[in-house]
Amino acid sequence: MASTSDVAAGATPGATPSRPGPAGGLPTPATLPAGEAGGPPPRSRRRVRRPNWVGGLMGWLWLAVIIIPIYWIVITSLKPSSEYFTTNPLLPSASPTFSAYQLVLENDFVRYFLNSVIVTVGTVVPAVLVSFMAAFAIVRGSGRFVRFSSGFLLMGLAIPLQATIIPVYLLIIRLNLYDSLLALILPSIAFSIPLAVLVLSNFVRDVPNELFESMRLDGTSEWGTAWRLAFPLTRPAVVTVAIYTGLQVWNGFLLPLVLTQSQELRVLPLALWSFQGQYSVNVPAVLAAVVLSTLPILVFYVVGRRQLVSGLTAGFSK
């Protein structure tokens, strides 16, 4: 974390080039390795960034590729079902209606939504706590078991959930958990652990050792140090990991498909799929369901875009 703020600081001197003397010297020395510190490096950006025609063209082209389908989804979901077959698909309805949304909501959407919430929260909270503990143990501990855990969980990154679905199914049957929300939660926790531990341990490692040392001198136990010192200090990473895990689980499809069967246990993606099978003729309703299932994440995106973006690239930006 300390290193990221250095990078941010490294970008700032360019913004205040007109301040000479000791004041101007303050932020620079800590930022970049020698060579930069002495002279006046600023007035960078404008000159460096020349127009990038290829990138620009691609940028606008891709915007169209992204926006046209989304636009079409939204306007179609607002059409009366009878109008869908007769009107121009690219024009919004003259008499927009929420009837499609009403139909979706009447079809137990709220229940599926709650199921998704339960599974997501039920996965994220234990997964993050357990991963944080492991990350703390890996950074602070020593000995054979810690080394084994570290290597083992790192190896776990390479195991794809899809390829283990058959034994997971067998395991869930044997545990008498088939067709329950817990059946979705347990494997989801397990498969979110490796990446969470990797990201969190990188951040726990950044906590200055002096702080650990002073906690120790105060007589705080390692357990207390973990939750009262390291956890608050690594909160940005915890949030990142929670969001990444949450999105994976929220959008997950294979586990619910294989491990549940009753209608009242459907989570949103699965409900969406069966809804589509059931109402395939009523396209506005199907698309309303698509919109409704995306809405919670969209709200989240509007509120906490930065956390969401960093959450998505968790651990991969290395």
């Binding site: 020593s142 810690v146 395991l171 290395k318």
Partner: protein, 317 residues
């Protein structure tokens, strides 16, 4: 020790670097009393990760219909799957989709990443919009595109461009293009985020030096940006390649493997054999193949990246 508190702004670069050697000193003193805190995570992953991984290997030598008893079979499943043309077709399709979607997504994500890393305001706005597909589940995206591509009432029918009015999901060749397109639609935003992060970590001084030496934009892109993004390219490619080995949700909802088995990729082949045809043994063989091929590709790409891939960049938060 108190003199090196990291918050003091006046500390010089040398002083800032001081804690590092001290840290390793302290580390050797600490006790092993925290090791137990790793137990819950390890236990979870043993039960639902490692055991299933071994289990899938074991199950590939058994006969099981998903409900009844599991019987030992020996190498029968392997022999039958390895001579099954359906598997080879699935394997070919998986590689085809993998290679083509890589070839589409990488340049697009790279360009978009470089583009959105720029400092202009409007680019930040565009980046917000690019991100939208990432909010949707694969199921939602597939369902939307299924309706959108409908040859009679979909989007293309209205635009009056005959080329676009095709039976996109009903033609065994076209369906592959559709899958590659929808996969790209879904995943390019993620990969361009990776590239954007990578570009932002390239030291500005390199570009300054290059432009002083008279290097143009194109030259700078190929001589600085691209080489500096080497590890990002490898990370992104690994995720794409391994991801397309396991791509299931999107293709399952979009085509269910059809028409016929024109889009029956390995992950789908595994699911259909196991949970539709109730042949868990052969399905487990496919699962083992997926793991092995995925692992092989990941290791191969890692080799391409060289050994010091970890030391290259920091967290891009």
């Amino acid at each position: 020790m108190t003199t090196t508190t990291p918050t003091t702004t006046g500390s010089t670069g040398a002083a800032r670097r001081a804690p590092a050697p001290g840290a390793s000193e302290h580390r050797s003193v600490k006790t092993g009393s925290v090791a137990w805190m790793a137990i819950p995570a390890v236990a979870f992953f043993v039960l639902f990760g490692a055991v299933p991984l071994i289990g899938v290997g074991v199950l590939s030598f058994t006969q099981w219909d998903g409900i009844g008893a599991i019987r030992w079979l020996g190498g029968g499943n392997w022999a039958s799957v390895m001579t099954d043309p359906v598997m080879y077709k699935a394997l070919g399709l998986t590689f085809g989709i993998m290679i083509f979607s890589w070839a589409v997504q990488t340049p697009v994500s790279l360009l978009l990443g470089v583009f959105t890393a720029g400092t202009q305001k409007y680019r930040a706005v565009l980046a917000v919009l690019y991100f939208l597909p990432l909010l949707m589940s694969a199921a939602a995206i597939s369902i939307a595109f299924k309706a959108l591509l409908d040859p009679n009432f979909g989007l293309a029918a209205s635009l009056g461009i005959p080329v676009l009015v095709q039976n996109w999901l009903g033609d065994p060749t076209l369906v592959l293009f559709v899958i590659i397109f929808v996969l790209s639609w879904m995943y390019v935003p993620f990969h361009s985020l990776l590239y954007q992060g990578g570009v932002q970590q390239i030291p500005r001084s390199m570009y300054e030096a290059a432009s002083i030496d008279g290097a143009g934009t194109v030259r700078q892109f190929f001589s600085i940006t691209l080489p500096q993004l080497k590890y990002t390219v490898i990370t992104s490619s690994t995720l794409m390649v391994v991801g397309s080995m396991t791509a299931f949700d999107l293709i399952f909802v979009l085509t269910a493997g059809g028409p016929g088995d024109a889009s029956r990729v390995l992950a789908l082949d595994m699911y259909l054999r196991g949970f539709r045809a109730n042949q868990m043994g052969p399905a487990s063989v496919i699962a083992v193949l997926i793991v092995l091929i995925g692992l092989g590709l990941a290791l191969f790409l890692r080799r391409l990246g060289g050994k010091d891939a970890n030391s290259s960049q920091m967290e891009g938060l």
